[in-house]
Amino acid sequence: MTCDESLERMSELLDGIPSEALEDHLGACPACREGLEGMRRADGALRRQPRLEWTPAMTEAVLRRARRPARLPWALAAAGLAVAALGIALALRKPEPPPSALADHVAAVRCLAGQEALAPEILRSQIRQLDLPALTGDLLRTPAAKPYEGYLRETARTIDAVGEKGSGWSREAAKELWGAAKNVQDACSFADAPARLVPVADPAPVDLYAEGRLRFANGDPEGAVRALDGLLGRHPDGPYADPACVALADHFARAGDDLSALAFYASIRRPETITPEVAARIRETARRAGRAFAGPKDLAGADLETLRGCASGGTPYGLVRAGPDGTTEGWLLGILPAEFRAAAAPEAACPSLEVRRARVDPARMPEAMKRLAK
């Protein structure tokens, strides 16, 4: 075990998960022993922080709020009489719960309403993906909604018109869309079915992606990184994962953290994401970071010798998958110089080494690459 590999084991040891390999390593490595001791003390300081007390009054406050009807005044104000009437009708007649597909529609509309910072062509394409007839159709399957068919169809037309306008996307249109989406959502909440509409514990990928882009646009990079990182953690194979990697990498490159930027570029999974423009940005980032840049180089069918050639003098990283017959396929994004393999490299000298390690999934690295990386 190297010092580099011991970090995760040390953390697990603090949680009572022993490792013989770690113990052997600690026996021979004073730096890691000291590191473990420091980690133990820091962890102790964190655990010893004073804890807040949960009082009976807090419990009563939750119970009181739970007894209140949900968001009735807001919905009335926002939605106007038509939606209020629809809501009351829904509540009184206890209609069947809306179909789950409606959740996707409402989430998508909510997301679009927050996306005015996105490029018009992205908006247009996303609005086209909204199945508006299905959105209104789903809601109208509830008999109580029938009298408000005109209103709902008008809402759908508004959204559609915004999609058609595309370049004319404006704050007013966004507000209108937001209002329409809220109305639908709140109307359904009267029917005591909000849970079916908004998956709280698991936000949709498109929601997280939109939130990230919006936060970048609004000057909240920390929030944007949180949203996009959450998206990558939850949906690493989803359609928004690659755009999120590019957005994060571009952000870190702009912020001057070139190694983090390269790590996110290296997490791109689909070669088609690496357009000539993205490739140019990767090349420029690698140049600034002083890293040899060997790509994006198509390694489809490359044999061990080719890889060894690419990796001479450093650790290869990038999008590399095991291919048939022991070959590999993918894209080699760069070579980290040999000193980054030195496990005892101080973090100050290599602030992003951890990011790189976290992002490159060893399971995706064929055996040949693993041997080279050692």
């Binding site: 953390s11 697990e12 603090l14 590191g35 962890d43 300081a45 939750v62 709280v200 514990a201 953690g233």
Partner: protein
């Protein structure tokens, strides 16, 4: 096997109000302290704790029984904490009204340093640290709450702990063993 939480959630779905009380009383302290560590703000943590339980109440229908209640609860709390961000800890602890004993002063200083260090540990590493290290949540539960694999949680936790160690190094050196 149906655990106490699953039974309470079933009660919630059946409209028994005491089920919510049972859930709130059982998990209130840990949710409050989790949110306090995540947001760095006591008042905000109290508000978000209430909101967390209200969401449990309103979204009870979406909960799938099977022993994963705590992970689901923390996922809701973590989403709320994300949404509201973290308020930076004050740069230094407020001066005591009269000279405090050395031990008290050192403890207050360390407490402020830990708060400031948590400010500097970014998500998603902070939630891995708070969940596993402070709240004693298992890796599996933390992984479910954060929507990632156990391996990812372990790696995030290790990074967060190493970062915390480096950030607190000056105080811990002064503090002695």
């Amino acid at each position: 096997m149906v655990d106490d939480d699953d039974r309470a959630m079933q009660g919630l779905r059946e409209g028994r109000p005491e089920a919510l009380r049972e859930i709130v009383e059982r998990h209130g302290p840990v949710v409050l302290n989790f949110l306090h560590r995540m947001t760095g703000d006591r008042a905000l943590a109290e508000d978000l704790s209430q909101e967390t339980f209200l969401r449990v109440f309103r979204h009870a229908a979406t909960y799938v029984p099977g022993g994963g209640f705590r992970a689901w609860l923390f996922a809701i709390a973590r989403n709320l904490a994300w949404k509201h961000g973290r308020r930076p800890a004050p740069a230094a602890p407020p001066p005591p009204p009269e000279p405090a004993p050395a031990e008290t002063a050192r403890r207050a200083e360390l407490e402020a340093a830990v708060g400031a260090a948590l400010d500097r540990i970014e998500e998603p590493f902070r939630s891995a640290l708070v969940l596993c290290s402070v709240d004693g949540v298992s890796y599996k539960e933390a992984a479910d709450a954060c929507g990632c694999s156990v391996k990812t949680i372990s790696s995030r936790l290790a990074r967060a702990r190493a970062r915390l160690r480096d950030l607190l190094a000056p105080q811990l050196r002064e503090d002695g063993p």
